[in-house]
């Protein structure tokens, strides 16, 4: 099989050199998410400006290359964007991951996120790819400025 189709270079790069990693202050919302089947976990914080812009996402956790790289890519995709834009991106990524490999990703929306198209063919790994995003959504819901959009 095509191991390389799942483990694209982009994924391995993000895994080895994750972006925005570490927990930072200040933050407005925090979430702890765990994948009960494998024990992978992430703690993620989000800082939202008064006008609804995502100022920072910080996180730490343990997990496989897919979950770690996906969280790293997510921070690139959402930091500096409005909460609404981030939700649109999340919907696109979720649709890609749940598409069993049948969804054509839009690089303009997902950027490095398109590298996860191969993962969508492996149902057991989809949860890994979504772990950080679930934490992001939950953390946003706990903020006063971002909760409405979630």
């Amino acid at each position: 099989m095509q191991l390389e189709s799942m483990y694209q270079e982009i994924i391995l790069d993000h895994y080895k050199n994750p972006h925005a990693r570490g927990l930072r202050e200040p933050f407005d919302g925090e979430s702890f998410q765990v994948n009960p089947t494998c024990g992978d976990e992430v703690t993620l914080r989000v800082k939202v400006t008064e006008d609804g812009k995502i100022e920072d996402v910080s996180y730490e956790g343990q997990g496989c290359s897919i979950s770690q790289a996906s969280t790293s890519v997510m921070t690139d995709l959402v930091i500096g964007h409005s909460v609404d834009e981030a939700m649109t991106t999340m919907d696109a990524f979720t649709e890609l991951m749940q598409g069993r490999g049948q969804v054509e990703p839009d690089e303009d929306v997902l950027d490095d996120g398109i590298a996860f198209a191969g993962v969508a063919k492996y149902p057991a790994r989809v949860k890994c790819a979504l772990l950080g995003w679930m934490a992001f959504k939950d953390a946003l819901a706990r903020t006063s400025n971002g909760a409405e959009a979630v």
Binding site: Y7, C38, D40, G63
Partner: protein
């Protein structure tokens, strides 16, 4: 090199009975199935027995007076006798359940029901001040039901820790199991570490203080014990034991709860309804003697027949041979994996008191990623915490890769695993 001729089990001949073992996966790779600890594969003999039953005698057991009903009841009770004899107990001490998890819950809920069930079940009641003792290496199925029982009754849960080498730390045996202890529950063989736990000292101490012993035998009954052969509950002296059909070449949807006769006779029911009653009036009911008291509703019948066929199959090979074969595979796997720099066995590194379940981690490659590389080579292993999360915490790892072997595995499959782990290291750029 081990040649197939000198193996305790004639694997080549035996594998012909398991159609699934000759299929390919992931673009034509021969399947290397190393996940029997999760569920085992079924030989044609088991499937044939189930089919034969359904095609000739299928009907509801213990009901009706027609010929099919008689035949089905005979098949069902015959299966009970075969399975009971396999584990060294009487047929009346064998209760069929959906799976082992249900068997443990049956005991746990019967114990909470005992509080309101009258004087004869008083010995099963629990309350504040009483203790239930488990171990840190339990599968969730032998942990969560006891946590819940303690919550319902106000009793306290305590546990034996695990040593660094993956064995039970029994150094505080006498202060862990005391006059307050009412029940001791533990795994015969760990589903992660492969450790075979010493039943005798635990049973002896528990009985000294009047506590009941529940043995989770899911990972021992299917494989036997090296040097001893088949697991014998009677000889072990446990009060209750559970195991599941699908881990021993049998169907899913059937498990076994063994209970010592006098205990089952005194224990109140868990599930109630049809089949388990003696007399029913609008005002109240009385219950059938065991094992029927614990088998409410129309039971799983073809599954019981299938499980008995699985027992016949295992007896045909011989449990001493099964255990010897797996011992050889475990030795080979431990040796092969230990040789790889950056690979750490989680569990005993030798084959003393240990079954053929081998968990490990690879430095720099997450278990999920190891298993993905193995999967790409056709090798099926389990990954994660294997329903033993507290054990993984105790071992300081979030997850492990687990290879679990059975009588149909060949030495070459162990070698494929070892080569696959090296390939995972190469792919992720770690190791040598």
């Amino acid at each position: 090199m081990t040649t197939t001729d000198s193996l305790p089990v004639d694997v080549t001949a035996l594998r012909a009975d398991f159609a699934i073992l000759s299929r390919t996966v992931r673009d034509g790779k021969p399947l290397v199935y190393l996940d029997s600890g999760a569920t085992s594969q079924r030989p044609a003999q088991v499937l044939d027995a189930e089919r034969r039953f359904v095609e000739t005698s299928n009907s509801a057991v213990h009901r009706g007076a027609h010929q099919l009903s008689e035949e089905a009841t005979d098949a069902y009770e015959g299966a009970r006798a075969t399975i009971a004899s396999f584990v060294g107990v009487s047929p009346g001490e064998v209760v069929f359940t959906k799976n082992a998890t249900e068997g443990i819950n049956l005991v746990a809920y019967a114990m909470s029901n005992a509080g309101t069930a009258g004087p004869e079940s008083e010995r099963f009641t629990l309350g504040p001040g009483d203790e239930v003792v488990v171990t840190e290496m339990e599968h969730h199925a032998n942990l969560v039901p006891w946590q819940q029982l303690c919550q319902r009754t106000g009793a306290t849960l305590t546990w034996f820790p695990v040593t660094d080498e993956g064995r039970l730390d029994l150094s505080e045996l006498d202060s862990m199991i005391t006059e307050r202890t009412r029940l001791v529950a533990f795994a015969h063989q760990s589903n992660v570490l492969g450790t075979v736990n010493p039943v005798e000292p635990l049973v002896q101490r528990a009985h000294e203080v009047g506590a009941l012993v529940v043995l989770d035998a899911c990972q021992s009954v299917p494989h036997g014990v090296y040097g001893q052969g088949a697991v014998d509950f009677g000889a072990l002296g446990v009060d209750f034991a559970v195991f599941s059909g699908h881990k021993m070449l049998g169907p899913s949807g059937i498990g076994v709860l063994y209970g010592r006769r006098e205990l089952l006779e005194a224990m109140p029911p868990f599930l109630t309804g049809g089949s388990m009653i003696e007399l029913v009036r609008m005002e109240g009911s009385t219950f059938a003697p065991p094992p029927q008291r614990f088998e409410a509703g129309v039971p799983m019948t073809s599954q019981a027949v299938g499980l008995a066929a699985a027992v016949d199959y295992l007896n045909g090979v011989g449990m001493d041979r099964v255990a010897a074969h797996e011992h050889m595979l475990a030795e080979r796997a431990l040796a092969g994996l230990s040789e790889i720099p950056g690979v750490r066995i989680v569990g005993p590194e030798d084959t003393v008191d240990r079954g053929a379940t081998v968990a490990f981690v690879v430095d720099g490659v997450h278990p999920h990623d190891v298993s993905q590389v193995l999967d790409s080579l056709g090798i099926a292993v389990r990954v994660g915490h294997h329903c033993a999360w507290p054990l993984h915490r105790a071992c300081g790892v979030p997850a492990t890769v687990r290879a679990s072997f059975y009588l149909y595995n060949e030495p070459s499959e162990v070698d494929a695993l070892v080569a696959g782990v090296r390939e995972a290291q190469r792919f992720f750029g770690v190791g040598e």
